[in-house]
C-alpha cells in the first residue's frame, strides 16, 4: 500500500519536472502579466534545467527535457525540435561543467551559466535562421538572457531549499 511518506517523497522529487511541464504548457510568465514590469522577463525553464542538470541530474530525466522542448515548440510555433535542442545543449554544458568541477560554489555556477546560455541561444538562433522564415528581435533575446542570468542566484536559493527538503525527508 502506498504510504503518505512515499507519495510526499515522490511529489517533492518530481516537483521540478511538474513545474517545467506546467511552464511549457501554460502562457503563464511571471512578470509578463504585470504592466510596465515585463522588461524584466526571464526564462525560468532555463534556470531550472541548468540547476538540476548541474546539481542533481537524477531529478531531471533528459527525455523529459526533450519532451518539454517539443511542447514549447508546438505551443509557440517555432520549428519542431529547436527548443528541445536548445535545452539539451544547456544540459550538455551543465553536465560537462559538473564533470570538470571539483568544488561547486554559487559564484562559479553562476558564471558558468554564461557559456551555457551562450551555446544554448546560439544553437536556437542558428536553427531559427536556417530552418524557418521567422524574424526575431535579437535585443529581446539578449534582454531575456541577461535577466535569466541575473535572476539565477535568487532561484538558486529556492531550488537549493528544495534539494535540502528532499534530502531532509530521506535522511
Amino acid at each position: 500500500m502506498l504510504s503518505f511518506k512515499f507519495i510526499k517523497e515522490k511529489f517533492i522529487k518530481s516537483l521540478p519536472l511538474v513545474i517545467l511541464y506546467f511552464l511549457s504548457l501554460n502562457s503563464f510568465v511571471l512578470v509578463n502579466d504585470i504592466p510596465n514590469v515585463d522588461v524584466f522577463s526571464f526564462n525560468l525553464q532555463m534556470i531550472i534545467i541548468y540547476f538540476y542538470a548541474l546539481k542533481f541530474p537524477e531529478y531531471l530525466g533528459f527525455g523529459h527535457v526533450f519532451l518539454i522542448g517539443i511542447f514549447k515548440d508546438v505551443l509557440i510555433g517555432t520549428p519542431l525540435g529547436s527548443t528541445a535542442l536548445c535545452y539539451l545543449v544547456l544540459c550538455l554544458v551543465a553536465t560537462y561543467l559538473r564533470n570538470v568541477t571539483l568544488r561547486p560554489r554559487l559564484a562559479s555556477e553562476w558564471f558558468t551559466f554564461v557559456p551555457a546560455l551562450f551555446f544554448s541561444n546560439a544553437t536556437y538562433f542558428t536553427i531559427i535562421n536556417n530552418f524557418s522564415n521567422l524574424s526575431f528581435y535579437y535585443v529581446e533575446l539578449l534582454r531575456v538572457t541577461f535577466f535569466t542570468f541575473l535572476f539565477f542566484p535568487i532561484f538558486y536559493f529556492f531550488l537549493n531549499s528544495h534539494l535540502k527538503l528532499y534530502n531532509k525527508d530521506n535522511a
Partner: protein
Amino acid sequence: MAEQRDDLLIALRYALLKKGTKQKFSLFFLIIVSVLVIILDKLSYSYITKTRAVLNDFIYQVAIVTSSPEKFTKYLIDRGIHHYSVYDENNLLKEQNAELKAQLVNNQFLKTENEMLKEALKLNSNKSIEQDVSVIAKVVIDQESPYLKSFLLNKGTSDGVKKGMTVFSDKYLIGTIVEANYLTSRVLLINDLNSKIPVIIQDSNVNAILSGQGVKRRMVLDYLPEQYQLEPGRNIYTSGKDGILAAGIAVGETYYNEKDKIVEVRTLADLDQTLFVQITNGQLR
C-alpha cells in the same frame, strides 16, 4: 596542452554518452533525435505534416486543460480591476454615446447619398472579396512569448478553416491563419514581427507597409514617403495591394504618445482582450 585537450574531450564524451543514474537516454541520442525532428519538420512531406497536425492538436488540447486554472485566476483579477473602474467607464461611455448618436444621423445621410451615387455610377460592389466561409472561433491559448505573437483557436480544418484565411475581432483585422490542424488552428497576429500588411492612411493617398513590433498594440508604418508627417487620429486601412486582403479593412489608428512625444500607430483591436474571433476567407462585411 595536449593533455588539457584530452581532458576536455574525455569530459565532453563522458557528458554526451554517459547515461547518468536513472537516465533512460544519453544526451547524444536525444540531440541526434532533436536534429532529426528539425530536419523532418523542415522537409514538410505530407505524412510529416499530418503527423505534426495530430501532435499539435494533442498538445493544444492538453495545454487547454492545464491552462484553465491560470485563465480562471486572470479572469478573477480582471473582474476585480473592472469592478473599480465601472463608474469612470460609465461616465466616459455616456459622453461617447452622445457623440456617436450625433454622428449616426450624419452617417445615415452619407450612406444614403453614397448608395444613390453608386446607383448613378452603376458601380457594383466587388463580389470576389465577399466571404463565403465565416467561422466563429474561441481563443483557447494566448501563449505569451517574447518573440512570436499568436493565438490558438478552437476551430480547425474540420470546421472549414484553411491556412491563409483572415481573422477579425470586433470587425477589426487581427491576423491571418498560419497553421490549420484538424481541431485547432493558429493565427499570426498583426503585431507580430513577421506581419507585414500593405495599408493606406485615412484622408490621404499615402501607401505604406504596416509592420508588427512584437510589443502589445504598437505597430510601425514602413516605406512612408520622405518628409511625410503622421497625424494623430487617423485610421489605417488595408490597401489590398497584396492581392490577399481586400481593400478597406480597418487595421490600426494613429495616436499621440504623450510619453515619447511622437505620433505612433496601434492596433484597433485590443489583442489582450480578444476572446472570440471571426475567421473568413475575404473581407468582413
